[in-house]
Symmetry: C2
DNA sequence: TAGATTGTTAATCGATTAACAATC
DNA sequence: TAGATTGTTAATCGATTAACAATC
């Protein structure tokens, strides 16, 4: 329905808006102006208004924005009003950690299963959920209406699994493997390259010294 | 020594260059042109040359770039020739996972210690390293020449710890808490907001459907 | 109504891409 | 030398900021 595409720069800022609005809501603040919000968030008021107006007019002239309303609207834009079924592929430390991390479930991200290739790990239970063999991957995705696969496996394995996922109903891949995936355009990939992030920090630390 | 500031957009791309050059090196490729690299990485050759020339002329006209040399140079720019001492604050699932993740050590990031507040956890061992009490934080940082603190604790605790870290010799914070930290400018903060990332994926999935 | 603040258009700034002269 | 490809300047594109008319 939308005509022009909204830039990823804007999308990236939405969760941050949501976070600050959540805090305001918790503080019992009912209304906020772009000016006030801008000084809290250390961005320009202009940017806030521009960003929001990509999705419609959420404010009232002369008044500002209703915190709760805006919070809900941004939530909807980000799809937080829907639930998403996830599986984790890779029951190593990181997969384990994400699986145990409950806060995602509050947001409608439901972990339905966890997979591994290692026979020593398959069959064990994490949080009452059994670690499954990768053999049943496709079947499980279909039967459990899985939308998102989280990849916490080494890079070579990730390429192979991404290939298999491409032929399923999966809509998105949350990729923690240190490699770029090549998947059809109907599958969205969101990368979390931890080592890239750490290298960036390293750069900035060394720069800061000069 | 450098006069103009290099943009964070450029810095963010460096680890990706390093990754691709590493692959090329492994494949035994000795030289590569910006054109060839651009088609592999799906960026423009212009961008590659512009990015690299922020740091100096690493190529040879008519020839291209020596893979190994360029790999080493980018590594140096990112500080991969130095070692960094890290501590992890928060021995929960995520802290645990990062602590166990060996690949960082290959890059010169040495995990020196892990901290928690929970008395049930303090004293236990992870990889032969004892989980320490937050009480000895400052002392430990000084005695072990710690450069980077990794924050894998809930947001309120993170604010408090960041405050304490501000008064130490710490140069950087790798922040996994879902909150923006306020620290003096001599401390660099690199955020990994996992829930923000997942929300972005959620947006793109729902958008993709239209 | 007067004051405040949005929504939106216009101006600026920065980043990306294109072009080409320099040179290996 | 001729060909190839860099380093770098110039052009374009997009994103951010400023300004202000619309309006609550």
């Amino acid at each position: 329905m939308e005509t022009r595409e909204i830039s990823q720069a804007v999308i990236s800022r939405l969760p941050r808006y949501l976070r600050y609005l959540g805090e305001l809501k918790d503080e019992g603040v009912e209304r906020i102006s772009s000016q006030e919000l801008s000084s809290r968030m250390k961005v320009t008021a202009s940017q806030i208004r521009q960003d929001l107006n990509n999705f419609g007019g959420f404010g009232q002239q002369g008044y500002g924005y209703k915190v709760e309303f805006l919070y809900d609207e941004i939530g909807k834009i980000l799809g937080m009003d829907k639930t998403h079924n996830l599986i984790i592929i890779g029951a190593g430390n990181l997969g384990h950690a994400l699986f145990n991390y409950m806060n995602f479930e509050r947001r409608g991200f439901i972990f339905k299963g966890i997979f591994d290739v290692n026979p020593d790990v398959i069959g064990r239970s994490i949080k009452d959920v059994e670690v499954l063999s990768l053999d049943c991957l496709e079947e499980f995705i279909t039967e459990n209406d899985i939308d998102i696969a989280v990849l916490t496996i080494p890079k070579t394995a990730a390429l192979n699994v991404a290939e298999r996922l491409s032929k399923t109903r999966i809509k998105g891949i949350w990729n923690f493997a240190h490699i770029d995936l090549n998947v059809p355009s109907h599958i969205q990939v969101e990368n979390v390259h931890l080592s890239d992030s750490l290298m960036k920090l390293s750069y900035n630390i060394n720069r800061g010294e000069e």
